[in-house]
């Protein structure tokens, strides 16, 4: 490591300890030692800043936060999975003595032996860690793939395909009361008839052209090509609009983080 790096790290660590002391001094709590309370908030703030420092460039603080994150998160989800699924759902169905050990209510039933299947499949999956028995891991994989394929097949057919198609069944002439009425009441008001009619035309033609863009086995030429062009324009409007719409939510995330720094850590605002 270069000297400047070491100096920079020392300075940051010094500031961190200073913040810890200051934070602890202002920490009022009955339940725990003030030094621990101060450490928790300061450490959270340190991690927050370490991640943000990545925006400038890669640095040892980011590396530290990144590596810590990887280790802690892997273990956290492992232990959560163990307690909620293995102990919570599986143990009560397969063993009375284990249920007593973990203090979960035993659920006897006549078909409980089937719950050994996922355990066996799970153990086969762990065979992956061995070099010679690795192929056994394909069985649970086949089970998982078969399950999702079977469920997806009907679910998508129903909700993403049939329901989306029938949602396109909209009348092209909303509130149609004749040409005379249409002309005499013509306006570009957001709640007017004309705008509503245009909206339905746009939805209909947009969906058709969009689908045409996704034709793979036909060359996009002539009228077909023109429709596919319009299709890609509609998709571009979709992407642009969705992008613009999400900005507000993303900014809120940052507002939350900065509020944490200013309020919980620095105490600048209340």
């Amino acid at each position: 490591m270069r000297r400047t790096t070491i100096i920079a790290m020392a300075v940051v660590l010094g500031l961190f300890i200073l913040s810890w002391i200051l934070r602890s001094a202002s920490y009022v709590t009955v339940q725990e030692h003030y030094l621990i309370g101060g450490l928790k908030v300061t450490f959270s703030a340190f991690l927050t800043l370490a991640i943000l420092s990545f925006l400038y460039k890669d640095n040892p603080f980011y590396k530290f936060a990144e590596h810590l994150f990887v280790g802690v998160s892997a273990a956290f989800w492992m232990s959560m999975g163990f307690w909620t699924t293995i102990v919570g759902n599986l143990v009560p169905r397969i063993s009375q003595s284990l249920s007593e050990f973990f203090q979960v209510p035993y659920q006897p039933g006549s078909y409980n032996f089937v719950y050994f299947i996922p355990v066996i499949l799970g153990i086969m999956l762990l065979m992956r860690l061995s070099r010679n028995r690795g192929w056994l891991a394909r069985w649970p994989l086949a089970f998982i793939v078969g399950t999702t394929a079977g469920l997806n097949f009907v679910r998508y057919l129903r909700s993403d395909f049939m329901e989306q198609v029938s949602a396109t069944f909209v009348p092209l002439f909303v509130d149609w009361k004749g040409v005379g009425y249409f002309i005499s009441h013509f306006s570009l008001s957001a709640s007017g008839q004309f705008v509503a009619i245009v909206a339905n035309w746009v939805i209909f033609l947009g969906v058709i052209c969009g689908i045409i863009y996704f034709f793979f086995s036909k060359e996009h030429k002539g009228v077909f090509g023109a429709a596919s062009r319009v299709g890609i324009w509609v998709l571009m409007i979709t992407f642009g609009a969705s992008f613009g719409y999400t900005v507000m939510g993303r900014i809120s995330l940052l507002v939350g983080r900065i509020t944490f720094l200013f309020r919980d850590w620095l105490g600048w605002i209340s």
Binding site: V41, L55, A75, M78, L151, V154, G210
Partner: protein, 225 residues
């Protein structure tokens, strides 16, 4: 043998589940298979944990670049795992939820995982800005459409949209930026989303069918491996 049995398993499970959608007495199968799925997923977590240890111990042993940081990963991993599996400092003991208030696992979650997770997520605010700066350029017709749509929506979400176009009379009110933004979200945006969803729906259906029939078998890897 090594490939045939998995293909048969996929075929059987897939077909049974398709039928269970139409046959009420088989409906419970769906729940059961979901539970199986969850249990296998937990074993996958353990597989993941094993792999993580292998990757980082390898780095340590071979003194690869940044090997020092691998110790951070390993310490974080073992401390959290111990806190979670043995429910260290959990006021409710073994019967309580692993994330009871006061438990070490819960403290780690609140003061380590949450700041890390939410700050990573908050990076999006910056990246949304840099991506718009870099990518919203009127390079060609498609890019221009993308740019204009995004700009209209952005403008409609600020007070300035109304300030610029608020003078328009009600008979032209769809052209006021906030209304235009709503119109774009409700019509062309909806059409585009729907076209993509129908396409994806068909793709998923077709791929699922290929998987069940054993036509698509990349997921099994190669023979002999």
């Amino acid at each position: 043998m090594k490939r045939q049995i998995p293909l048969i398993i996929t075929f059987l499970i897939g077909t049974i589940l398709i039928f269970s959608f139409f046959i009420p007495p088989m409906e419970k199968l769906e729940q059961t298979s979901t539970l199986f799925f969850d249990v296998i997923a937990v074993f996958a977590f353990f597989l993941g944990g094993g792999n993580l240890l292998r990757v980082h111990f390898n780095k340590l042993r071979r003194r690869k670049r940044d090997w020092g940081f691998s110790t951070v990963t390993l310490i974080g991993f073992f401390v959290t795992l111990a806190a979670g599996l043995f429910k260290i400092a959990n006021p409710g003991g073994i019967a309580a939820s692993p994330t009871t208030e006061g438990a070490l696992l819960q403290e780690i979650f609140t003061y380590v995982l949450i700041p890390l997770q939410s700050t990573m997520y908050a990076l999006l605010a910056f990246f949304v800005a840099s991506a718009s700066y870099r990518a919203f350029r009127a390079k060609n017709r498609e890019a221009t459409i993308l740019l204009v749509a995004a700009f209209v929506i952005l403008l409609g979400r600020t007070p300035f949209g109304m300030m610029l176009t608020g003078w328009m009379p009600d008979s032209l009110s769809v052209l006021q930026v906030p209304n235009l933004a709503i119109w774009v979200m409700n019509s062309p945006n909806l059409a585009g989303q729907r076209a993509i969803m129908i396409g994806i729906g068909l793709g998923v259906i077709s791929m699922s069918l290929r998987l069940i029939l054993g036509i698509e078998r990349t997921y099994l890897g190669e023979e002999g491996a």
